[in-house]
Subunit: 308 residues, 2 copies
């Protein structure tokens, strides 16, 4: 519930995909993936998640059942007749961080033109997953007075469509970006300076993602840190960043007020969800979690960070 008593929900736009992955830990063919999928399932543990995305006819009951199983409202996922779903094929290096893209078949994603079901226009909170900033803007245009808007981006948009990116940036509350991309976007080497430069572009907050080293949130006034869970086994890093953002945004969406304490807890929710995501292929690690699984992992993060 938000402070106004409205039941909170989080609108998520992003990719829905099939991922074919080779990793030192094994491989999967055409497994459920995509930023909107990881983010919405992660968010579903904290708020009511709803997705706007596009898929082909090869995306069927089995896939929708996964979203449905987590209570994700998939009514904004358009199925293009005769179309095929976005397909990514990649191979992870032994270090489980670097990866090669072997194939990217955009398919129906190439013509993605997000149109929100009417009810989605009154979403309380919004997460704009990493897609073309023009499309992110188009989604935002269709939402009336959202409370909190987070967005993700990537190097492609920083270099190819910088003006579009800056336009969306000026309209959101928070940007998720990784270390390297924050430098690319701002020209600043030191994370504190990159963060200030980003905040000067519009967002009140920026979360700089550092992979296995955790994440750091900056506002104009304060800075908050969360480590990544030191896992003994990482099976598949795909979707870690989206799961982090989904957990974070879901937590924020589910919170009555958005203050420093909420953001600190949201960072932990994000780190917990990212850690679950990488323990299995596809969304296997995010399914079937109980409240106690999440609470336990957040408690571990708290304990790692405790001052005494």
């Amino acid at each position: 519930m938000t402070a106004s008593g409205q039941q909170s929900n989080l609108l998520i736009v992003g990719s829905v995909a099939f991922d074919s992955i080779e990793a030192p830990s094994g491989s999967v063919e055409r497994a459920l993936g995509g930023s909107a999928v990881f983010a919405s399932i992660a968010a579903s543990y904290f708020t009511r998640a709803r997705v706007v995305a596009v898929v082909g006819e090869d995306f069927g009951g089995e896939q929708f059942a996964v979203l449905d199983g987590r209570g994700v409202d998939a009514s904004g996922i358009r199925v293009v007749p005769g179309g095929r779903t976005f397909h990514w094929r990649g191979r992870y290096h032994d270090n489980m961080q670097d990866r090669d893209t072997l194939a990217t078949e955009l398919n129906v994603f190439e013509g993605f033109d997000p149109v929100l079901p009417d009810a989605f226009g009154r979403s309380t909170d919004v997460f704009l997953g990493n897609i073309d900033p023009k499309l992110q803007a188009k989604v935002l245009d269709q939402v009336t007075g959202p409370r909190f808007v987070g967005m993700d981006t990537m190097n492609l948009w920083i270099t190819e469509t910088p003006a579009d990116l800056r336009e969306v940036l000026a309209r959101v509350d928070l940007l998720f970006i990784n270390d390297e991309e924050s430098r690319q976007l701002t020209g600043e080497r030191q994370v504190a300076n990159a963060a200030s430069a980003i905040i000067a572009m519009g967002p009140r907050y920026v979360v700089i993602k550092r992979g296995e080293y955790g994440a750091i949130l900056f506002s104009g006034d304060f800075c908050l840190f969360v480590p990544a869970m030191p896992l003994r086994r990482v099976v598949d890093p795909t979707g870690a960043g989206d799961s982090f953002a989904g957990g974070f945004m879901g937590f924020v969406s589910g919170a009555a007020q958005i203050d420093r304490a909420t953001l600190a807890r949201a960072l932990r929710a994000g780190a917990a969800m990212a850690s679950f995501a990488v323990e299995r292929f596809s969304v296997g690690g995010l399914e079937g979690l109980g409240r106690s699984d999440i609470d336990r992992r957040v408690a571990e993060l708290d304990s790692m960070c405790a001052a005494r």
Copy 2:
């Protein structure tokens, strides 16, 4: 004071050097440096630091005055008649992380044979800086029943003298090591597994240093994390790791008991001292700090990590 009422002190062995450094921020010629110098000055804010090291006749009153100014007992620094002090010349890349060594003149350091003044043999705590493990062992041989022993190491000893390294490792309480070197030493990619493998080699604790991302401490039972201070300006990263270790070990040495809470505070002391060190060339950032400067930075780290 230790629990037994003995006044605590920290014996530090390591290099004393002149560093000539070129960095994007400027350059210095033959500035005071070396692991024992950074570590002892950082430690001096928390305990009584004493150094065993070797220098040449070019190391004179000006340099000793810096140590003296921080109350560091330099009576274990042997001046080799006619000798010259270890000199390192390096250049930092624009990213302020990668660096090229332009010259390494070991000079008197090549014949370093640490012999402790009698009083040093009763040191309460010991920090074995990053030198040949044979020499680290020789220092340890001369100390009677120390309470807590920490050691540092580097890739050179991991690859060149692994057996010697393993012998010292089995005799210490804590190892400081960086991310990459922890993988090299253990063959383990995931930090939690590398830490377990190191603990199986002898130390009760391992602190894995991650540069600008902070550090993570593992024991058999728990894990503690500290971020690095997000500084707006890094002038010279030289000595950051030594200052971290010095601050950490100094804090431990000054603590009445060594438990989880002490280690959590020690991580913050280390991160604070490392952050001061990199703000100036040589030891400029570590000199003339007040208790309140350090407390303020530790409070900032606490605040960054706070769960709400």
